[in-house]
Symmetry: C2
């Protein structure tokens, strides 16, 4: 029996759902990802803010796909796609041929041409990013406690989050929780309630995809948590000492980048039209123009909805696209008979701090504590794997009632390396 080979690049929401929907079919499916795990990215900020452990929001791709005998999982990094010869080239030179290709490569941060900022303002896309941000947050308080004077400590107690989208808002809320609740009785020399958190958004409103009324609600929640929300102002420089917001300099040791996205650079090797964010422009069936065997889904794709508006970079879009492409391939539908992809919008939500959220579903808008409960419910529900669902629920309940955080660990960082100063006494 001649099997048709389908290669999927990327094990995010789009790729993993495409693979599952192709499971136990007569197709020979290869899933290739740089890491060994599928990440529940909507909760990544909770790893960055020490509430959850990496294991709570990530599951090995092999484990998810092990029931499907027709799927081979390969840990590897694609660097080039040769669409004429139908070959994916991995970094070590290995070639993987395909008959159909599903590109679900996701996006990285974009510093809008200021890549030198990355060093001072890491972004949040991978588990590694999240652990790096977690250590930076925790180490700041440790450094502050070791300072000789309050003025010296101040820099370490200033946090700036650049970008007022969902990630930025969620990080700001989580840091407020750490500073004003979790750490409260943990220090003797510094006063953690003096922590200052700034959220900077270039457009006039935070959470700009939401209606103005909801975004103002969210702003109110953030401000009541003690966060300084700065809107309509652009960041003009980021250094090791802090952030320049137009004409004002905010000294800060902790800067988090949540402002821009750029699709995977591998797409550039395709030789196909890309949009401003580097996403491949796809046709109504999510295939490349002139190449019906190569599909692009999720954050890597610039797909349009029925009204000709680009679809947002959200998990449900990627999930539905993955399943849609799998259906096309299972049924072997020829290009000219493929129905266009249609996104079914189940609504969106964003959480703010410990007990508040905003959300909308079609014309219905909601906010406050019940929105937050709904947010918890939906996120638990969609977490892959029974074990993760259960442990995350337990940890949320635990930290809700105790304000403790389960993963407040620093283990890769050496505090002395940045605290160098001349010895006070000759040795």
């Amino acid at each position: 029996m001649a099997f048709t080979k389908v290669v999927i690049l990327g094990g995010g929401f789009g790729g993993i759902n495409a693979a599952k929907a192709l499971g136990n079919s007569k197709l020979d499916v290869w899933m290739i990802d740089r890491t060994n795990h599928h990440l529940f990215q909507p909760l990544l900020y909770q790893v960055a803010s020490a509430a959850l452990s990496p294991g709570d929001i990530a599951v090995p791709i092999r484990e998810i796909l092990s029931p499907y005998e027709n799927i081979t999982v390969i840990m590897g990094e694609a660097v080039k796609i040769d669409k004429e010869n139908k070959i994916v080239v991995l970094r070590n030179g290995d070639h993987v041929g395909f008959e159909y290709l599903i590109l679900a490569l996701g996006a990285n941060h974009s510093y809008f041409g200021n890549d030198q900022w990355e060093k001072f303002a890491p972004g949040l896309k991978t588990l590694n990013d999240a652990l790096q941000i977690r250590e930076r947050i925790l180490i700041s308080f440790e450094k502050a406690e070791r300072c000789d004077s309050i003025s010296e400590a101040k820099k370490y107690l200033n946090f700036v989050i650049i970008g007022g989208g969902p990630t930025g808002v969620e990080m700001a809320g989580a840091i407020a929780e750490i500073a004003y609740e979790t750490m409260l009785r943990n220090f003797r020399r510094i006063d953690v309630t003096k922590t200052k958190i700034y959220l900077v958004e270039g457009s006039p409103h935070i959470l700009p995809v939401y209606p103005e009324r909801l975004s103002e609600k969210a702003k109110g929640y953030l401000e009541r948590s003690g966060i300084n929300v700065i809107t309509g102002k652009r960041v003009t420089d980021v250094t090791s000492e802090g952030v320049m917001v137009e004409n004002t300099f905010i000294p800060a040791h902790n800067i988090i980048w949540a402002a821009g996205n750029q699709a995977s650079p591998v797409l550039k090797t395709l030789g196909t039209p890309l949009d401003r964010q580097g996403r491949a422009i796809v046709e109504a069936d999510l295939s490349l123009p002139g190449n019906p065997d190569i599909f692009v889904i999720g954050d890597a794709a610039c797909a349009m909805d029925q009204k000709g508006k680009p679809l947002p970079g959200l998990a449900p879009v990627a999930v539905q696209q993955g399943r849609y492409v799998a259906m096309l391939l299972r049924k072997r539908i020829p290009k000219n008979e493929r129905p266009p992809f249609r996104y079914f919008d189940k609504g969106t939500m964003a959480t703010i701090g410990k007990t508040k959220a905003i959300g909308m579903f079609n014309k219905i808008q909601f906010s406050g504590f019940f929105a937050w409960l709904a947010w918890c419910f939906v996120h638990i529900l969609y977490l892959i794997g029974f074990r993760n669902r259960f442990t995350v629920l337990f940890q949320w309940l635990f930290s809700y009632f105790t304000s403790r955080r389960g993963a407040r660990l620093i283990y890769r960082y050496h505090i002395e390396s940045e605290l160098t100063r001349p010895p006070k006494h000759p040795e």
Copy 2:
């Protein structure tokens, strides 16, 4: 009110118990540790074998000590102790003065003068070590799956654990579980049941502190799990390609060092007699000879029991020593009135694989499934913090019934970096 300053170096079992026992006293206590967390080291091998997350076995020292207003926690690394001037020097040059000093600095691996082996055979002392070993184990299977031939893959499916003490035995059992159960249906190209695990011990018996009968039982359990136990043979070389055991070369990509300990090098700056393992030789009250204000406890100390035999490097010894020294200081007992430290032996246990253990309590020896249940119970009981106890229990039950492991994540490693080969086709 004039407070007396007590400095504790190290937040392991000894240090943290000394600190807790000095909590809410009229002493000004400073706890200094390189990391920000207390580690439940007996379960560290479970992090290394992807069963538990770091957050499950580590708790922030600040969190543990936050109820005690008289304790200041400092994250910092002591590099020198000036016992004449009563000053601890931190790596960045900061000086911390003390009236009493409790040294609970623990031990590191010792490669018996072959420090070049460390690169190929990492040891297991810190969370970072555990995560490094975890990634190496997991990446081995990934590399094997990407090999072109079975003979090439073989090297990646060989595991050698050097040292047949508790850590070595526990790691060997855990790797057998990963290879023969967890990974079973996860690969398509390699046969994981072909994994070979070698446990090499230089002395005639594994677990040499146990009676011969128990150590033979343990050996039987290991062998029935598919592990090759080699005793009475010494490792003579470790390279990137494998391990030389006397005249036999075992090719292996994964080598774990569990063979030797060396007390913290900071002790050398004390100018006090050390034993062969670099531990400070202490008097009956655990203070240094000629210096009644400096105490050494736990793995950093060479203390004798009532019969003049050195006390073993076990958690209960460190815990009891910490509490004993705290009692001396709380009561301000002068040197000549101090009762000698007495270790109360509650027994010891070691676990082998998923369902077996051995243990002894005074003259009573036990082994098998019930020993394993006892092991689980005792370890859960002693885990610090309600949350950890609960989540660890849940994860154990989960993985017991499903053979899955919750933390099978690779996130710091880049697989392509070691898979370099010439491209098969000219690009």
